[in-house]
C-alpha cells in the first residue's frame, strides 16, 4: 500500500502496479489524502511532469 497523507501543497501523483498494468493518476489539493493498494507511488511537482511520465508509461518507455 502507498499513500500521501494530508498534502501540504498541490501534489500530482501516479500510483501503479509493478508491471504497469494498472496506472492511476491524479492531483491532491491541500489537506487531501490519497491511499492506494497499488505498489508504486511517484510524486510530481507539476502537472507537466506528471503528463510526461504518463506519456512514458503509455509508450512503454
Amino acid at each position: 500500500m502507498v499513500s500521501i497523507k494530508n498534502a501540504q501543497k498541490q501534489t500530482f501523483y501516479i500510483v501503479r502496479s509493478i508491471d504497469n498494468s494498472i496506472i492511476h493518476h491524479g492531483e491532491l489539493e491541500i489537506g487531501q489524502s490519497m491511499e492506494s493498494g497499488q505498489q508504486i507511488l511517484e510524486v510530481f511537482q507539476t502537472e507537466e511532469d506528471l503528463n510526461n511520465k504518463l506519456s512514458e508509461l503509455n509508450n512503454g518507455v
Binding site: 497523507k5 502496479s17 491524479g26 487531501q32 489524502s33 490519497m34 491511499e35 492506494s36 493498494g37 497499488q38
Partner: protein, 268 residues
C-alpha cells in the same frame, strides 16, 4: 443503522424495472418558452462527436430530422410548455443540455434520460446559474453513465441507477446537492473508474461519504457482502471517514483487498 431511512418515498422504482413496460430510449424534457429570453422558440444545441443523426419531436406536432447540424431552432406558434423528445438514431451526443448558447434556461423538467451512449455529459453546467427550476425526480440511468454528467450541476432530487455503469469519471465534479442521500440507493458492481467523481467544489459531506463506503461495500461489520471491481480510482473530495469506525474498515477493504486508490480528506 438503517441506511435507507431517508429514502424519498415519492420515488417509484417499479416504473424503471418493469420489463413489461419498455423504457423509452428518447431523451425527453419539458420547456417553458416564457423563461429565458421569452421568445416563442427553442434553440436546441447538441454537442456531438463526428456524424450524428437524430430526430426531434418538438411537442407541438412538429418533427425534425437532423443529420449533421449542431443547432436546431424551432419556432412555436404559441407560448407555452412543451415536451421535447430527442431520439438518437446514430452517432454519439456528448452534451444534451447545459451549454450557455442554448435555451437551457427554458428547461423545467427532465422526464427521461433514455439510452444515450457512454461518454455523454447530459447536464454539464446545467446547475449554473439558474437551476432551481429543474425537477430531477424522475431521472433514472438504466444503460450506463459516462463522464461528467452532473458536473457543475445543482442536484435537488434525483433517482439514479448505477447498476450497469462502468465509468463515473467526474460525474459529480463541482456539483452541489442539498442532500446526497440519493447515493445510498445506488450500487456500483460494474464501476471500474471514479476518477474525480466528487472532486472540485463538490459538497459531498463526510457523513454521506461514510455511509456510502459502508453501503457500496455492503460492510456488515466484519466483511464486505457486495461484489465490486478491483483497481478502481475514486475521488471523494474533502470528505472524511470515521477513524475506528466501520467506514474506515470498509475503506481499508477497498484499498488493501481490492487495490483501490482513494482520495479523500483523511480520517476524523
Amino acid at each position: 443503522m438503517n441506511l435507507f431511512n431517508n429514502k424519498n418515498k415519492s420515488l417509484d422504482y417499479s416504473k424503471f424495472f418493469n420489463t413489461s413496460e419498455p423504457i423509452s430510449e428518447d431523451f425527453i424534457f419539458k420547456i417553458d418558452t416564457s423563461l429565458g429570453n421569452g421568445l416563442n422558440q427553442y434553440v436546441l444545441e447538441l454537442t456531438h462527436y463526428g456524424v450524428i443523426n437524430y430526430t426531434v419531436d418538438w411537442g407541438d406536432g412538429s418533427n425534425t430530422v437532423v443529420n449533421s447540424d449542431i443547432v436546431s431552432t424551432h419556432n412555436y406558434s404559441l407560448a407555452g410548455i412543451y415536451e421535447i423528445k430527442i431520439k438518437v438514431i446514430s452517432g454519439v451526443i456528448n452534451y444534451f443540455l447545459g451549454f450557455p448558447k442554448q435555451d437551457y434556461l427554458k428547461v423545467i423538467e427532465i422526464l427521461n434520460i433514455g439510452s444515450y451512449k457512454p461518454n455523454t455529459c447530459v447536464f454539464y453546467a446545467c446547475g449554473y446559474p439558474n437551476y432551481g427550476l429543474i425537477n430531477f425526480t424522475d431521472v433514472c440511468f438504466i444503460i450506463g453513465v459516462g463522464n461528467s454528467n452532473f458536473q457543475t450541476t445543482t442536484i435537488i432530487n434525483i433517482n439514479l441507477n448505477f447498476d450497469n455503469a462502468t465509468r463515473l469519471r467526474q460525474t459529480f465534479r463541482h456539483a452541489t446537492a442539498t442532500n446526497w442521500n440519493f447515493l445510498l440507493n445506488t450500487n456500483i458492481p460494474n464501476v471500474v473508474d471514479m476518477y474525480r467523481i466528487f472532486s472540485g467544489s463538490c459538497n459531498l459531506d463526510s457523513l454521506t461519504y461514510q455511509l456510502l463506503l459502508i453501503h457500496w461495500t455492503g460492510w456488515d461489520g466484519t466483511t464486505a457482502t457486495k461484489t465490486l471491481k478491483n483497481n478502481v480510482p475514486a475521488d471523494f473530495g474533502n470528505s472524511r471517514y470515521e477513524i475506528g469506525g466501520q467506514s474506515e474498515d470498509a475503506r481499508n477493504y477497498l484499498i488493501n483487498t481490492l487495490s483501490w486508490t482513494i482520495i479523500d480528506g483523511g480520517g476524523i
